[in-house]
Amino acid sequence: MERDVKKEQEYKNIAQKYEPKPALLKNIVMAFVVGGLISDIGQFFLNFYLSRGYSMQDANTLVSITMVFLGAFLTGIGVYDDIGKFAGAGSIVPITGFANSIVSPAMEFKREGFVFGAAAKMFTIAGPVIVYGVSTSIIIGLIYYFLK
């Protein structure tokens, strides 16, 4: 059957009319609040490690380790997806969300084995982030090097 572009456009207009709109303002506020709280927790640990006499660089690394652990732990006990349901980007963007994106497929696919299940599927969501994160930083680094 040939595609009828006009008919498809007409239908798209009808379908769009009935699409419930996401609660934008609520989502933004929730993302801000939860994202902010996660950052507060990070800041709390940073202050804590600094007060224990670690250097800024070591304390930063320790905060990342702590937050990744928390994200993974909350995913493991089945809480992180509940947070994500109302926090949206607020719990996806921080490093805890990165941990969630790795642990959740690992948990889900471990029944397919530890090699082709858990290990292979672990990076289905985080993988693209790493690939394009690293690629972008290389490109920016090169630009910076030549323009400096």
Partner: protein, 337 residues
Amino acid sequence: MAKKKLGTQTVEFKNPPSIIAGGTIVGPKEGEGPLRDYFDMILVDDTYGEKSWEKAESKMFQDAVNLALKKANLKISEIDYLLGGDLLNQIISANFAARQLNVPHFGLYGACSTTTEGLTLGAMLIDGGYADYIITATSSHFSTAERQFRYPLEQGIQRPFTSQWTVTGAGATILASTGEGPYITHATTGKVVDLGMKDANNMGAAMAPAAADTIITHFKDTGFTIEDYDLIMTGDMGRVGRDILLELLYKEGYDIESKYKDCGIEIFDESQDVHSGGSGAACSAVVLNGWLLSQIQNGVYKKVLFMATGALLSPTSSQQGESIPGIAHAITISTTL
């Protein structure tokens, strides 16, 4: 010459099969929904004591068949054919259940439309004189469908309001060549219709054109009017799909709103956070074999147009940017001939 055919896409059964029994199993969430009293079995744990959700789904499929057999007081050896399907790759739930059931088996895939696809083919086999007893069954499971089509369960993401919740459950129907009804009198087989919708989180919009096409064709082929039916019920359009479908039909001169229900809307309460409603091959199967059959038996409805709808996408087709084709098959269930 096709003697039993009406119009372009409909058949009228000369020896209409009776629906003699239905068996249903649902998961815990469905068991908290408004239709909970109509299901034969409600699971406390959605793994059903199995190691994987896939195994659980297959076990539900098998047990829905066994429940229906028990109600009809039949043994599996008396069944001529099993016609079944589900949503998983290579329809493993149905095929693995059929491995245990030891019965001639046709595996079907029509996504969520498989329920009425099976009933249509089963009715044809009986009317054609090829079988006396047929079982049709479908299953779906929230957790198996999510991991195949969408994201891991523990992933912290927001589901869009247009998305639907795959029903965990299985439903089986036994058709017999003799019986006192309710009968399947007509079947309208749908065409695959695609109006270019690409959002895999909005199945209602993808399926609505196919649903409208089959309903209109059914009325044209049979000469029935909306007044002839007590109820027109779709499988899993959801709230978004319902609104679109009603508008599409209204534009063509069919105002079905007062007679219309959708299994996906009925099976969950709005407070259950399922957004647009339920979906999945089991959605129509458990509502038909649970709630609807009991309503028909109690005389609430005498003539029903029942239509399961399917979105024929795969994770691969979605990733490659293909639009989502829809399909809908309708059957007429009537207490009288």
